[in-house]
Amino acid sequence: MLSRMTNKNNVEKQFEILRTLVAIAIALSIAFIIILLISDNPINALASFVIGPLTTTRRLGNIVEALIPLLFTGTAVSLIFSANQTNLAVEGAFFIGGVGASFMATQLNLPPGIHLVVALIVAGIIGALACGIPAILYIKFDARPVVSSLMVNYVCLYLGLAVINHVIRDPAAGFLASFKFNKTAVLPKIIKGTNVHFGIFLGIIIVILGYLYLYKYKKGYEIRMVGKNVDFAKYSGINVNSVLMSAQLLGGFIAGMGGAVEVLGMYNRFQYQKLTGHGFDGILVGIIAKNNPKLVPLTALFLAYIRVGADVMSRVSDIPIELVSIIQAIIIMFVVAERFLYKLKHKKIVSLSRNEINEKEEIVNG
């Protein structure tokens, strides 16, 4: 009985993996076809897309730089989506977290290290507030988080820009940007010749903590149970509202901190003028990782790689970097399509069950 259950679970799992791989293969094939159709020099474009990122230290560094923020937003999305809350405010939390950290980094004078920690924590708290608003609206007023969180993203954008523009804007910068960050608050670079910074370690720590929390602690188990079956969770005595709240506050905290790590690690002033898209990228990472932080580094690395590949390609050929959006969209759609490859899976399960019945009959007859 037990072995049959695990067998079926195995088939399910295998097909999840297969479906993800097929989705990626379809998306990349479509991308290649587009390149072949549009480019004047498709071989060159393809080569720069596929192996371009590996050719220089600088580009290898670019991959890691692109990876770092995705570790944060990917883990944040895993936490929130595990509770089955479609709260998209991770995007706004990332942005406003970066603003909060910039404020701290330009306005405070603290010893090195402590300054950075303060900036990260403040950014995290602001991010938690951003993701908390849709959570409260849902818990108190029953407003679906999808719409409210999209609105929160725009609120974060404009309030953040207001702070940059009217509080910490550096008129000498020549463009809309904050004052330069104090040296005590920035994340040190760790590899010469690249912009890879200390944030990579923080990101890895966050991924590990996120995994332990979701899969090894009671609280995380409660989050996943609420996500799978709210009624069952309620009847088992779980305080659903508090679980929903804590999942989203934690996710927001991590996303806000991610925004801080990104601006303090990569730049010397805050210079975004619009939402950065890191939150929505985090959603892609979370979806492919099946909301399991353990898989976040791998999927984030994949996304970072095709980003850098497309960037290299857009510089040496006539294919614009927006190709990445198309690839991303196709992957998400096939990964979340439950019925995609369903027949194949169905057949496999049927044949497995048949074998089991036959075996049983042999035992009975024999």
Binding site: P320, L323, A329
Partner: protein, 306 residues
Amino acid sequence: MDNLLKAIFSAEFVYSIIRVTTPLLFAGLAALIANKGGVLHIAYEGIMVTAAFCGVVGSAYSQSLLVGLLSGLAGGLLISFLLGYFSLILRADRTLTGIALNTFASGGTVFMLYVLTNDKGLSTSLNSLTFPIVNIPIIKNIPILGTALSGHNVLTYVSFICVFLVFVVLYKTPFGLRIRTVGENEDAASSVGVKVIRVKFITLLISGAIASLGGVYMSMGYLSWFARDMIAGRGFMGIAAQNLGGEPLSTMIAALFFGLANALSNVLQTLNIPAEFVQVIPYVATLIGLAAYSGSMKRNKINKKS
């Protein structure tokens, strides 16, 4: 302050409210009909941006307004079709598919714009057409009313006519009844022989066509060119308007309210009030509206139970 009052209490201000409301109203009605059919989604942003782009390209290459309109509709319907195929046939999560399609449309339009014009921002190098302005015969001669209500883009009038049309389709036709039945209880609908998936699919396409008109208006009426990500959250605001309104007429009122906030932010910006605080008004208003509306629904439910 005096300037502000003068700017607000004028026929021109009412005119600008109606002008900025148009895309929100199209999006709101599209969301409304989808919600009634139980297929509310968040891909309006993508549908509208695709329609805006295809409309510009179609009209520029054919120099025909009709071809522009049809290609805009075709673009929007393509996104709706993909949404329908993936969410209804392949059972993908509708919200996540919506996010994917928005990403797809935002990137895809810029990609194609670059391929066609070597420009990633604007379509100004394409000689695209715009829909004509319509002057209403008698009203245009009435002093204040004429300035406010006459001389709008033809699609603006279409959007307000759509309020009536959506009402008729939903409440006065057999197909509207089917849409609402499927939306309210699809098991009951399927038990009496309604083909649920087909009705849902058609609802999605109708809703997509209405949203496409909003997209086409943006690039061929509101502005006379396509700009990257030019929808800028209007599709989302349409969903919010639908959420506040719930019925065609009240959705229109909600859309007008958002239009008012938008128009106000345009006026205040010219008066040196920090733009960000004004730009944020519509979104905050939506959040408050969502809380108030959903909250009142929740209270009603509780009252009914007790």
